[in-house]
Amino acid sequence: MSTIAAEVNDHAHDDHGPAKGMRRWLFATNHKDIGTMYLIFSFAMFLVGGLMALVIRSELFQPGLQFVHPEFFNQMTTMHALIMVFGAVMPAFVGLANWMIPMMVGAPDMALPRMNNWSFWILPVAFGILLSTLFMDGGAPASGWTMYPPLVLQTGDAFPFLIFSVHLMGISSIMGAINIIVTIMNMRAPGMSLLRMPIFVWTWLITAYLLIAVMPVLAGAVTMLLTDQFFGTSFFLAAGGGDPVMFQHIFWFFGHPEVYIMILPAFGVVSEIIPTFARKPLFGRDSMIYAASCIAFLSFIVWAHHMFTVGMPLSGQLFFMFATMLIAVPTGVKVFNWVATMWKGAMTFETPMLFALAFVFLFTIGGFSGLMLAITPADIQYHDSYFVVAHFHYVLVPGSVFAIMAGVYYWLPKWTGYMYSESLGKLHFWMSTIFVNLTFFPMHFLGLAGMPRRIPDYSTQFADFNMIASVGAFGFGLSQLILIYVLVTAKKGVPATDAVWDDPEGLEWTVPSPAPYHTFGTPPEVPPLKHEHA
């Protein structure tokens, strides 16, 4: 009993449960409490960002200017993106990581619990600052989430607050990522070798390395914006000898791996769920790990496909085009393995499985439109059109967001100790799936027909598809009320068993439901993987 795990257990005997009242949350060091806070915060941000999306879709319901000024429309598109990327999707995955990684690797908690507290509590401050810019002179940032100079330098009073909040988000992400890597590398139970780790843990390990590599790049870029604005430098100002295109290169060197930061943990969640409900071990388990690593590596060498229209040598265009297309290979390996896992499986279709299946289908649609965008001459036509909007929303909404929802339904009984309402879960799934397609599929046609993105008004030829997309967006928003009801009533269902599902794989299913406040006071025995057993 000389391990840290044992030490934590000894502390647990000193105080048997969580602190009372607000102290439990303000000074939280327990990974489950912090995971819960991350998930609640990200859901709140999902609703705030969603409301902004509804402002956008209301304005675009029909041609002409109806509800908001164009300036405010631009603020909404910018804030919607920043909030959804940094406030909703990323913290949701960190919340899942906090809850599940220590339990999956047999650790008593995260390796650095106090830093864990910091990395969470920085976030509400960062987004409080960002949201406060809505009430400042000149309004909120309106230059798009990409913050391209020189446009972003025309932001009013909000500019330094934007930069400061982005720095805070970056610090939070880096601290969270360090905590996850340190936990995985140092806190695994004896017998939990790297290749035995659950795929969700693996995808998060790779994601955490990506975060550490690229969040400082974003921080560096916005620091240079700050000094350009206030300290007389000319990193990106052409008038002073700087290069605005350089910002785009630096931003997308961060921005493309960022896409994989938002999708690799989703791959992990889906890779946990499909084997459980197909009642088969994950097909090609090791190749899943290699494919995720390969995707992570490739994500660093494709950034300029976001910038084909700014001009670059032919050799550059060819390199970035082919490198981007190469990502389809490891991604294809993953999709093949998910399908092969289901092949001849004894499948059932509970809510987590439905969301995971929808993920496989709909994320693949986003992947294919990504391949279309990778083709340089085609991209020059699609660039800045609604086709791009359709593409990345397919990757992020029925991709990342559906995977988060799948994960929440999958692990909710383990968190609460009760089964959620399966009928409401399925209703939530079907409503979300129908409306998400109604919202985003017509955007492909709008983009191909030439409708530009980030505009509050448009030609009447685009009216019908925009109307359908707006109806879909409101439907999708209303569907989330079902999720709120499911979560609020989560503790009113039938008590869950320890395993919850039919023979799932992983240490988290060996602890009681709900998971005790302190788990694995002594390191657990790691069972062999199912395919090893077979």
Partner: protein
């Protein structure tokens, strides 16, 4: 950094070492990109 490290001291040292390395890498990337910007400007 084996998973099966059972000695508390070793594990704490491992946690400290990994944390410092990762912080160092993040800081180096941050400063490195700004320095690259300075050199290019």
């Amino acid at each position: 950094m084996s998973a099966a490290v059972s000695d508390d001291g070793d594990r704490k040292a491992g946690i400290r070492r990994t944390t410092l390395i990762l912080f160092g890498v993040a800081l180096a990337v941050y400063i490195g990109f700004i320095l690259a910007g300075v050199l290019r400007a």
